[in-house]
Symmetry: C2
């Protein structure tokens, strides 16, 4: 019997504000469009609405850029206040070249501008930061769905990251709850008895990528519900997806 997965976009959320209970907003939006959230589903929520709900928005007019930020910005035609926020969000600069800053965030993510996002935030003078603890953000939504609907689900917080070597960005997971981000095939053999070479699959990233296909960038669909995928249950958190320095050839 073929396995089949359904991915449903959930739109119609109101403009999210600091202090909103995102779980409640998602539950209401799903109900309004008659989408059932059921045990075994995976809910993928974009970072942008999480950051708004958690007040992770910075008004650039209140940012005083440091001399370093001013210097970087002037050399690369960047906004010095935006650059300042990026530096504050960075634990380590991975690359700074050709106007691009690839930084490691405090969570350990390596991404452009330390995840500081200038788009889709009210007005031109604000930027959105990544959630402080995206696993906790995911868990709060998971818990709320359990409380209100009685459904045991997995939750992924997603963001759109560029990648080395390949053009175009793709959605990845930056926070998880209820599901492990890696599916481990170690010790298993293929149909010919040969040990499987690729031992772990980053299923949280694949689920985040799949969800992006119904979200789009302009459609005001910040949430997707994935049905039919038997995700690995667990609570390792997103840390399991972050490659430790000693195994990273591209520091």
């Amino acid at each position: 019997m073929p396995s089949e997965i359904h991915i449903i976009g959930i739109g119609g959320l109101p403009e999210v504000k600091a202090g909103d209970n995102l779980g409640d907003l998602i539950i209401k939006a799903a109900a309004d469009q008659k989408t059932l959230i059921q045990s075994g589903d995976v809910l993928v929520v974009t970072q942008k609405v999480v950051s708004k709900a958690e007040g992770r928005i910075v008004d650039l007019s209140e940012v005083e850029p440091s001399p370093l930020a001013i210097q970087i910005a002037s050399e690369h035609q960047r906004d010095p206040r935006h650059t300042e926020v990026v530096l504050r969000e960075s634990k380590r600069i991975v690359r700074m070249d050709r106007g691009v800053i690839i930084a490691e965030t405090r969570h350990g993510f390596r991404c452009a501008n330390a995840g500081v996002d200038a788009s889709n935030v009210e007005g031109q003078e604000t930027v959105a930061l990544l959630p402080l603890d995206p696993d906790a953000s995911a868990k709060a939504i998971m818990t709320r769905v359990q409380e209100i609907l009685g459904a045991e689900i997995g939750v992924i917080i997603s963001d759109t990251f560029g990648r080395p070597w390949r053009e175009g960005a793709a959605n990845v997971a930056i926070g998880v709850a209820g599901l492990n981000p890696l599916l481990d095939y170690r010790g298993q053999v293929d149909p010919f008895g040969y040990p499987l070479r690729t031992t772990t699959i980053a299923v949280a990233d694949e689920l985040a990528s799949a969800a992006e296909l119904v979200m789009g960038k302009l459609d005001q669909v910040p949430v997707a519900l994935i049905k039919g995928y038997p995700y690995p249950r667990g609570d390792t958190g997103i840390g399991a997806l972050i490659r430790p320095a000693e195994r990273d050839l591209f520091r």
Copy 2:
């Protein structure tokens, strides 16, 4: 109205052999499980069956390792014949460290072992190479589906690649036909009139990742059909997804 995507695994293909018409095998397998292939669908096919159908299988007992391959293999507990094949498939070595070879293939892909795959090939003494021209592989399947079923579809050849910075591998596209791998948002603005920062999304990679969720590694499901995704039509080929050297900070 929420957008909705369905992903259906297609299994039940016979063991694929060199010279097989893969399009015919997929059409029959889909029909056997009563999955309709319709215009607007995207068919994702794993590299392994494409390589088998195209005879891209190397018997390791016929490989004479070079002195370099022997040296690398002895230092890193690798099979010297496998290492030799990897070197032959490489246009450039990106990194060689800790027993890992990250190579650039002739197509321009940067991946472990130049895409040479020791798993899921009949017997322990063979390896599978990437298709010579994965876009052509995709086009042949697309054309066959058009001829037999009259359906105009997009086709993606997928492979499982590791990534810098993140643990776990994920499916990406290595060949496309009928669809452009990148969705371009340049010139578009968000709901607040702010220009979108992330201008292109690698939708072919996201579709490949989504397809992996129904394929698994052990389930003998080498094909997935994606319904409901309005993919960007076009024929830019997979080259559009490969970052040129001058834009690549991680050479």
